[in-house]
């Protein structure tokens, strides 16, 4: 590769948002005919960099050269006119328009016989058909986009992005909702575009996909550039280390087959738990008084596992046993009855009922289990809420304060209090410390350990490996929506990292 091939060169890009420096002096170089991976954990600055490149937000500092000439753009339309297109994870196609309409949207061919005439529909369809067949995508362009499988929509969205002769194509987590076969179809398209000389920026959380399709990568951490690497030079373990900012000393390959710590019967066990597009079949077993940590990168299936165990999403397969008995577990109300509890990842969306009081939020699950027939009297409600507010140190003006007025950490504690009130057999905590300040974080972790000591089984999910290692008796490691292995709690962070980095690292080494 020579400098002649450089299509886009960004230097020293910085951008601050209120209270956070999202990007600080980041460089990025994209070359024609190359697939370039942009890697980093949550909050590393990937999204902000993409927004800068696509004109969604302006950088505070830094310069961007396109084909050697310094340029600036302020809107996505300007960026597109310069040949920079993006396909985002969620903005697929307009479901109520046909594929052809979607592909030509914004640049419909006009009927030639009078000026400013109507849209030339046959020509629209012809162009869409030409484009798709050139890219090897086989789809009827007259069909409504909404009726197509997610994968085909994704391919068509990529086609739309390159329809205007894109020089730079940005793919932001394009594979997060595709299964293995669909990913391959997308990769064929990516390779075809690469061979046509398009510079492609590929953002993903799936490490193996990076090594499969990318030539080079740029790693960000906390808004700063860690470095640019060619994929052959940095193995998966090195990449994870670069992303999390920690050197991995050595791999514990044998740790994946650690012996079971105890032989008490499982409080809950799931065999072959799976849901298409969310989780490959996984076996989970968790005993009373045990903290089972779940570690993995975003998109590894952490949250999906929790949602399937609590029956928030229907599972395609898998048998679940509680105390050795097969059980009916089809909806959250069943899970509640079986003594499961679930603190969801998204506190606002799935956790609190903001306008209800702290007391009402705390008694909600217990009252739901008691049903309509038995009413927890007001006095009993107050006593329960007072006790849990004190026990968890929830800071609130009164138990009658709407929970929405509490700080994030205290809202989180209120949700944990809600579940403690049901005296659960198994408590599933999905990222319980996210967005919680350090002091509250320590208190929460202390509560989790206390619960386990009292005999509650705890499934602890966190993106912070350090936290998982500190509290867990065993650690289940997920990678690419499948179980990568299981480690004893004392295995150490490095062992977890190398398992997250996966078999590739071991194979390459």
């Amino acid at each position: 590769m020579t400098d002649r091939d450089i299509v886009l060169e960004a230097r020293g890009i910085s951008r601050a948002f209120p209270g956070v420096q999202a990007l600080a002096g980041v460089d990025l170089t994209l070359r024609a005919g190359e697939v370039h991976a942009l890697m980093g954990q949550n909050g590393a600055g990937k999204s902000t960099l993409i927004k800068v490149l696509t004109g969604l937000c302006a950088p505070d500092a830094g310069s961007i050269k396109l084909l050697g000439a310094e340029v600036a753009w302020h809107t996505p339309q300007q960026a597109q006119r310069l040949g920079i297109s993006a396909v985002h994870q969620e903005s697929h196609l307009l479901p109520n328009l046909s594929v052809a309409e979607n592909i030509c949207a914004g640049r419909y061919p006009r009927q030639p016989w009078f000026k400013g005439g109507g849209i030339d529909w046959p020509e629209t369809r012809r162009r869409a058909r030409d484009l798709l067949s050139r890219l090897g995508i086989d789809v009827d362009v007259t069909r409504l986009a909404g009726g197509l499988p997610a994968a085909v929509q994704q391919l068509a969205a990529v086609a739309r992005a390159v329809a205007g002769d894109a020089r730079v194509l940005i793919l932001d987590e394009p594979t997060s909702s595709l299964d293995a076969g669909e990913v391959q179809a997308l990769f064929r398209l990516i390779r075809a575009l690469r061979d046509q000389g398009v510079a492609i920026l590929f953002v993903t959380h799936f490490l193996d996909q990076v090594y499969e399709v990318c030539d080079r990568m740029t790693v960000l951490r906390n808004g700063r550039l860690v470095g640019e690497y060619t994929c052959g030079k940095l193995d998966a373990r090195g990449l994870v280390a670069a992303m999390v900012g920690r050197e991995i000393v050595e791999a514990h390959k044998s740790a994946a087959h650690a012996p079971r710590t105890q032989e008490t019967p499982a409080a809950l066990s799931a065999r072959g738990l799976a849901r298409r597009g969310a989780l490959e079949p996984v076996d989970v077993e968790i005993r009373a008084g045990e903290v089972l940590g779940v570690a993995g990168l975003l998109g590894s299936g952490r949250t999906e596992l929790a949602r399937l165990l609590f029956a928030l999403d229907p599972r395609d397969q898998g048998d679940i046993q509680v105390d050795g008995q097969p059980v009916r577990l089809e909806e959250p109300a069943d899970a509640l009855r079986l003594g499961l509890a679930f603190c969801p990842e998204d506190r606002k969306q799935d956790g609190i009922v903001a306008e209800l009081s702290v007391r009402e939020n705390i008694v909600l699950a217990l009252q739901a289990r008691m049903g309509l027939g038995k009413f927890l009297a007001r006095a009993a409600q107050r006593e329960l809420a007072d006790r849990l507010v004190a026990a968890l140190g929830i800071k609130t003006a009164s138990i009658e304060t709407p929970v929405g007025q509490l700080s994030g950490g205290n809202q989180q504690k209120a949700i944990i209090a809600r579940w403690l009130a049901t005296r659960p057999r198994l408590l599933i905590l999905d990222e319980p410390t996210r967005g919680v300040d350090i002091a509250a974080k320590q208190e929460l972790m202390g509560e989790v350990l206390k619960l386990a000591a009292d005999g509650t089984a705890v499934l602890f999910i966190s993106a912070e490996i350090e936290e998982v290692v500190r509290v867990s008796d065993r650690i289940l490691v997920l990678r690419d929506r499948a179980k990568a292995g299981e480690l004893p709690g004392d295995a150490g962070e490095d062992a977890v990292y190398s398992l997250i980095a996966g078999g590739m690292a071991a194979g390459d080494a």
Partner: protein, 341 residues
């Protein structure tokens, strides 16, 4: 005083009081109540009696709106229940004095309420299980229901000649209208359910955040189904009262536009149309406000052709009075004026 002003029912009460004062100003005898023919008599009693069906329908509507739903078919359900009851009671003039019925009264009333219950269940199934938008799902019955009622009557107005049937709509018990007793009883039962059982908590949780309620194990689907079914039943009860009051069932006009009055009553009472926050007492006040409005228009002698315009203007004024933003604006303007002088 300040705490009083912050009470949820403060502004609806003020509105109702203002309307009564306006009436009293124009017609000093408006507030007069006397004892006549063994029961209370006067404009106020009349308003209470006429407001009863709207109260009942609005109470059902309150719960539906509280769980982020809507039921615009209540008017049609009123027509169905009225028609079924009138057809089954039937009866006719006879030389002995017109007190025969086709079927026993309990059977006719039961069948009418069952029909209304089924209507509500149908709405519930469409919304909860077929996952249709509430306004679309209930629009089906709103249109079809009146058609069904007309089909049953063959397009005729069914007149009832069986006096015991008239008790519901124009009878009196302990000096007060029977319809009012029914509405008050229903209100008390609901109030009890909402505050002394878990139903109120569940409904507010579902309305406030349906996803969170589901995660907390609340059986939101079952509760929603019950709420829609109850709303249908309430409309059925109102239908019986209305047809009993006019001694006939008119499939075409019974309960016409009642759904809009019910939504208005619920809104006036301070229930959030976005779900979650609801007030049964507020709804009762809302229904009374609407009926008083109607009475006001008649008592002011507004010509029938401008009737609707006057009602619209009054509703607009009432809504402004109830809007916290508007009151804040008025207060700001008043302060500015005071500052100038």
């Amino acid at each position: 005083m300040k705490r009083l002003a912050q009470h949820a029912l403060f502004w609806p009460s003020v509105t109702l009081a203002l309307l009564l004062v306006v009436n009293a100003a124009f017609n000093p005898s408006f507030l007069a109540i006397s004892w006549r023919d063994g029961h209370l008599y006067g404009n106020l009693v009349d308003i209470l009696n006429r407001a009863a069906p709207l109260m009942i329908v609005s109470l059902g509507m309150t719960l539906v709106i509280a769980i982020r739903g809507l039921d615009i078919s209540v008017g049609a359900v009123v027509a169905i229940a009225a028609t079924v009851a009138a057809l089954l009671v039937g009866g006719g003039f006879s030389a002995e004095g017109a007190n025969t019925s086709e079927h026993p009264l309990w059977f006719a009333l039961g069948a009418a309420l069952l029909a209304a219950l089924v209507c509500g269940l149908w709405n519930g199934v469409l919304v909860v299980h077929a996952r249709m938008q509430p306004i679309v799902a209930t629009l089906i019955l709103m249109v079809a229901g009146r058609g069904i009622a007309q089909l049953l009557t063959g397009g005729q107005i069914i007149t009832v000649y069986y006096p015991p049937y008239f008790v519901l709509g124009s009878g009196f018990l302990f000096g007060l209208p029977v319809a009012l007793w029914i509405a008050a009883g229903l209100w008390l039962v609901l109030q009890w359910l909402a505050t002394r059982t878990a139903l109120g908590l569940f409904i507010r949780a579902i309305g406030g955040n349906p996803d969170a309620a589901r995660v907390a194990g609340v059986r939101a689907a079952d509760i929603a189904l019950c709420v829609y079914t109850f709303c249908g039943l309430a409309a059925g009860i109102a239908g019986l009262i209305i047809s009993s009051n006019v001694k006939s069932a008119d499939a075409n006009s019974a309960g016409q536009l009642l759904e809009l009055d019910a939504i208005l009553a619920v809104t006036l009472g301070g229930t959030a149309l976005t779900g979650g926050r609801f007030s049964l007492g507020g709804t009762v006040l809302g229904a009374l406000i609407i009926q008083t409005l109607t009475a006001t228009i008649y008592s002011l002698g507004v010509p029938p052709e401008v009737n609707l315009v006057v009602k619209a203007a009054l509703v607009f004024a009432v809504m402004l009075l109830q809007s916290a933003e508007f009151r804040a604006l008025v207060a700001r303007v008043a302060r500015l004026r005071a500052g100038e002088t």
